[in-house]
Amino acid sequence: MMADYQQILDRLYTHLRPMAPQGTRLGEDTDLISEFGLDSVNVMDLLLEVEEDFDISVPLNLLADIRTPKDLARAIVRLLEAG
């Protein structure tokens, strides 16, 4: 599968938007916890949606280095390429 960063990022946004009140800023570099306001249940939901949508399995250890949509999109690119 072609792992296009921008397409992946756009798809991530569609998963993320419903998880915060309207008007919450969301960009590549938004901190998902402190700025966007995800809690631990949101994070589980997000990972579930990402795994189902991209048909990948996101290893737990990767989360430790993910703070922003950019980090997450890059991790997905790598997982798809390793696929």
Binding site: I33, S34, V43, A64
Partner: protein, 591 residues
């Protein structure tokens, strides 16, 4: 790798943990055909590890550990991922006379730094001489061990590359340490519970013999982490000591796809599965009604509940929701325990389900008396309901004491104290904490509050200030310390507690006395704290900056969390449905 799960029915007579040591328990289990099975998040069998194969692999790894020059009794730290290698190394320590120390996996978004710090504190606390992490966690462990004096840090493959000298193995004896357990206690000031072989074997005999009354045909299913006492003692050691097969699901896989737990029970005809209340809650909330006809849970004879205060409504909701899938509500088995007593202290009676005691809320609040509530007493809002956690395992005693260590009569709330053969020897290299918890008379002060009746033990609150969110225990002093490390915050300027929101759910609140006036700097502090708290504890927290000298203090000058909480609830108007705070007697307040 074997791709068939180990069978439920064994070809050897069932023995209920009547072994002097864990190594001897495995020697016997290895004669049969049962074992451990590991499933992925999509329900596929990833590995099967029959006890016979585990024994072989464990003995080989024990020799490699000897080859490293490890001395008897030295600690081997293990990142406790739900995988066959953890089992192999844990039992290698049993055969080699070393002490395994399961380490937690607490990874959240962006938490690399705080996770490494936590591991480092643990490696230091147990003065480990060797440490193992599955390959995907090795970088965390290596960084954590950097600068500490460990002989060897590696992945299973790194250990397999080591020499396997032909040493004669002498397994860990009844008086020797079986493992150190770090789940109980604060993350900032970790305390390792020391459990000997005879302590854990006594507990296991009580659990599988009396509490569960294990029988041929039983099969266990578990997603509980191996670094937690219920996961380790209840679902790693217990099944092995009674030669049962177990089906494991990773903890995060359960959190993401709770249906897999039910699917495993249903498909493999599991009979014994435990969870803290939040596990049952996630299932009831996240599983779709439409999929219930895929499951047949009529095989599930023991649905154990422990590890947190049990709220009856949570379990009722689960039972109602899953009744169409054949779940029997009498399978609920509430129990009480703690790592300091290996795992279990009391078990409710089998096949009874959850039994609730209704008490008069006012008497509880005013006099710490759990007076039975009579129907004639009037309105329901004056009632508080507690779940019966049952009676002590054979050979164990439970009493409820006041601040002067005097035993209290039935239905009087006090500190739950436990005595018996399963108790820890103490906290590892921490005489002061050991002295605080274990009296010379052999009674362990659990710090939990409860009362006794003819029918059993009722827990009214665990460790007064402990914050429990989604099954995670958080010590408020750990959160407070983190805030105090910020340059804008002074020591003693922070208090953290949990409060019930009137719309349901519990909110963790942190109040910070703060001298900053500029809005931007105030917002920066709040954001930073939120991020750090999430990354270290995995929770969201409501943070409020309050003016200096506004947090309430006790007469001795210490911050009073309970008073801060009471005032906060009043100020934000949540008092309509607020929890009652049953104050602990003086002795339990030390923090």
């Amino acid at each position: 790798m074997i791709r068939t799960a180990t069978p439920t029915i064994n070809n050897r007579p069932l023995r209920c943990a009547d072994f002097p040591t864990l190594a001897q328990a495995l020697d016997y289990a290895a004669q049969g055909v049962t074992g451990y099975n590991f499933y992925d998040g999509r329900g596929r069998l990833r590995a099967a590890l029959p006890y016979a194969e585990l024994r072989q692999r464990a003995q080989a790894t024990a020799k490699r550990l000897h080859g490293l020059g490890l001395k008897r009794g030295e600690r081997v730290a293990l990142i406790a991922e739900t995988c066959p290698e953890f089992m192999e190394f844990f039992y290698a320590c049993q055969y080699g006379g070393f002490v395994p120390v399961p380490l937690p996996i607490t990874i959240n978004l962006g938490s690399r730094g705080s996770y490494i710090e936590r591991l480092r504190r643990l490696l230091h606390s147990c003065s480990a001489t060797a440490a193992m992490a599955p390959a995907e966690f090795l970088s965390f462990l290596q960084e954590a061990a950097d600068g500490l004096k460990l002989r060897f840090v590696g992945s299973p493959a790194d250990f397999y590359a080591l020499e396997e000298p032909a040493v004669e193995l002498e397994s860990s004896g009844p008086d020797e340490i079986a493992y150190l357990q770090y789940t109980s206690g604060s993350t900032r000031f970790p305390r390792g519970v020391v459990i000997t072989q005879q302590a854990v074997m006594a507990n296991l005999a009580g659990i599988v013999g009396t509490g569960l009354a294990v029988r041929p045909g039983d099969r266990c299913v578990s997603w509980l982490p191996f670094y937690h006492d219920m996961g380790l003692v209840g679902f790693v050691l217990g099944p092995l000591a009674s030669q049962l097969s177990v089906d494991y699901l990773g903890t995060r896989d359960f959190a993401m796809r709770p249906r897999q737990w039910l699917a495993l029970i249903s498909n493999n005809r599991g009979t014994i599965a435990f969870a803290p209340p939040f596990g049952y809650d996630i299932c009831a909330r996240r599983i779709h009604r439409a999929e219930l006809d895929r499951y047949d849970l009529s095989c599930w004879r023991v649905a154990g509940v422990g590890a947190e205060t049990i709220h009856a409504e949570t379990l009722e909701r689960f039972a109602d929701f899953l009744a169409p899938a054949g779940f029997n509500r009498h399978a609920f088995l509430p129990c009480y325990g703690l790592a300091e007593s290996s795992l279990a202290v009391t078990f409710a009676a089998l096949d009874q389900g959850m039994v609730v005691d209704q008490v008069d809320r006012r008497a509880l609040e005013d006099r710490m008396s759990a007076r039975a509530f009579a129907a004639t007493d009037g309105r329901g809002e004056r009632v508080r309901a507690f779940v019966n956690c049952g009676r002590p395992l054979p050979g164990h005693e439970v009493i409820v004491r006041d601040a002067d260590y005097k035993a209290l009569p039935h239905r009087q709330v006090g500190i739950v104290s436990v005595r018996g053969p399963s108790l820890m020897s103490g906290y590892f290299q921490d005489a002061a904490s050991t002295h605080d918890a274990l009296g010379p008379d052999g009674w362990l002060d659990t710090g939990d509050l409860g009362y006794l009746t003819e029918a059993g033990l009722f827990i009214t609150g665990r460790c007064k200030d402990l914050i429990i969110v989604n099954g995670r225990n958080i010590w408020p002093q750990d959160m407070e310390r983190l805030a105090e490390e910020q340059p804008e915050v002074r020591l003693g300027d922070v208090t953290a507690f949990v409060a019930s929101h009137p719309k349901g759910g519990e909110i963790v609140v942190m109040l910070v006395q703060c001298r900053l006036t500029e809005n931007e700097r105030r917002a920066d502090l709040v954001n930073r704290l939120q991020r750090m708290i999430y990354s270290e504890f995995g929770i969201k927290c409501r943070i409020e900056l309050v003016p200096p000298k506004t947090l309430p203090r006790t007469s001795s000058g210490k911050l009073s969390r309970s008073e801060a909480r009471r005032r906060f609830i009043q100020r934000v108007g949540w008092n309509q449905r607020s929890e009652i705070i049953v104050e602990a007697p003086k002795a339990a307040v030390s923090s």
